[in-house]
Symmetry: C2
Amino acid sequence: MDRVKKTKIKATPRMSRVTIIDVAEQAGVHWSTVSRALNPAKRHLISPEMIERISACVKRLGYRQNAMASALRTQKTRTIGVIVSNLGDPIHPPIVRAIEDRLGEIGYVVFVGNTDNDSMREAALIDRFISQGVDGLIVATFKLKDPLVDKCLLAGVPTVAVFRDPERPEIPSVRVDDAEAMARAVRHLVELGHRKIAHVGGPQNLSTGRNRYRGFRKACKTAFGADSEVIAKFGKAFTVDEGHSACGELLDQHRAITAIVAGNDMLAIGCLSAINHRGIKCPGDISLIGMNDMLFMDAVYPPLTTMHTPSRELGLQAANLLIDMIDGKKIEKGRHILASNLIIRSSASKPN
Amino acid sequence: MDRVKKTKIKATPRMSRVTIIDVAEQAGVHWSTVSRALNPAKRHLISPEMIERISACVKRLGYRQNAMASALRTQKTRTIGVIVSNLGDPIHPPIVRAIEDRLGEIGYVVFVGNTDNDSMREAALIDRFISQGVDGLIVATFKLKDPLVDKCLLAGVPTVAVFRDPERPEIPSVRVDDAEAMARAVRHLVELGHRKIAHVGGPQNLSTGRNRYRGFRKACKTAFGADSEVIAKFGKAFTVDEGHSACGELLDQHRAITAIVAGNDMLAIGCLSAINHRGIKCPGDISLIGMNDMLFMDAVYPPLTTMHTPSRELGLQAANLLIDMIDGKKIEKGRHILASNLIIRSSASKPN
DNA sequence: TGATTTCATGCACACGTTTGTCAACGGGAT
DNA sequence: ATCCCGTTGACAAACGTGTGCATGAAATCA
């Protein structure tokens, strides 16, 4: 009734939804009591029968806490932001899914945004998320030494990098051992008998692109000697198209190669298309290994031998890390590196 | 300084970020002036040079509007919620992506949540989104006549159904013409010469599952006569596994069939696996048509003939519809139905 | 029974905005 | 000089919660 009196006239047509004051009125108590009864952390201050009564009113009126008001008061939104380059890239959905699962089970709700690897867009997105008051950020788009990390740091928002690692010690990251993954792929090919192995890689300003290339390079040097030639082409992005054209150039310029290690499965699919396009055979004429083991890589032709990335686990660990940061627990600020293992299918075989 | 005085002691260590009051102080004006200067709709009330001065202070201090406070005041969060069954299902990411693109360009930010088709989880998610004060909801998980629609209606949250249609006149939906898509697939097979065609469908309590089956059924009746037998098996979900087992049963029980129309590509991939598993050939022994044309369906073996679903367009139209609803424009409350067209690849050929 | 502790609840302020209302000011017309 | 009007800027009241502190009642103890 307090509220009703205060409105200028009764003209205000009760547009607002039911508030804590309404249920207090129903229950015949002060709303602060309702607030406490509804807050698990303060519930112990209230008598059980009162809690019961209030709960009944809550249910009857269909009361829902106003998260904005609560957030304004507590400075916590129970909201986190997830930033990916492109949800349409099959590597991301499982990560986002895992994050949402983990965070959802403790009452968080997640924003997602795409950047298309555009720094402007990424900066704007971070700003918007911070403005929304997210309690934390999980970012899969940081470039190496990305200055955007500062924006998060400056705002004091707990941030963890996932998948791509900006390699900035101020924030933790969760990723796969990219270099070792590529090295493993190379070793597999070497074991099969290949001696001319090329790399179709991704952008070198990304940890994924760079580390994978480095792993490839190192494994080649180890296998073929320090002054052996390292054959590689880089796409401007991890896309099928870029894989197709990079592989095309490779095939034209180096006729002797018998195997390709692609920087990821998208590039690998592009390689496959370039290979087919030229009428040569995989794995007959040329072997191919991808990375990530995206969905359906077992159904393509030929079924793709690839390095499996535990994407769900990436998301899970990133989420757990973030939760700990938000809760103020001391956490390992370093690199959290997961293993990627070889999935042998049919796209890589002995050279003929 | 007002604020400083009011804090109990100066003990409060400036934990809060920079507020509108700080910039007002810097600019030497009242904060209401700052608010207006920053609000495009009210900016005309302020002199250009003042706007300039204020903007400078904003930039200098790195002020970011507190969305919670703003939302609390205006009852608008510029936030919308998107609900899907499973982001891991390749049909969803493009839809979500399109929604985020469209809404993002006008300053909205989107929540996403997964339900795994669990009504409890879905209800909880809707509650949580509403509690967060979303300005609108785009839901891809409604079942036929889903009572959860009422929850949204009751809360007065603009809601549009996408992909799956609850077929409730109170809310608009945008989807593909599922029945016609299946019919088109059947006609294609009939034209190729098939006479024994079966359906591997999805759950019949979903518009997608039911309409596709109906379209299949009707087309068969049209082609083979009203009292021809309609052969169909239904999976409990649109998954590869369900497709595999349903197709297995089909193959065991009906040896004469020469073609299968799957309810979607996931089921189709499952069918493919069941077919391969039995050592029969696709399309040699049995033709297969999927639906949706998910990513990589051109790279599987055999390249899948399928009905293309314009998923991006689905998301775009849903977003546009929602924007109009939020803006209070009168909109078409009915069904918005997009066409799905046949993509001919290699999994369907003449029967031998 | 009176003093003291414990417990449940009420009070009021603060969180950071937006916005209706109004005062102040300056210029132009009479 | 007076009056009026238009332009700017200031004020204060919400929006719905959380929470430290005060209060009152009941319970405990001497």
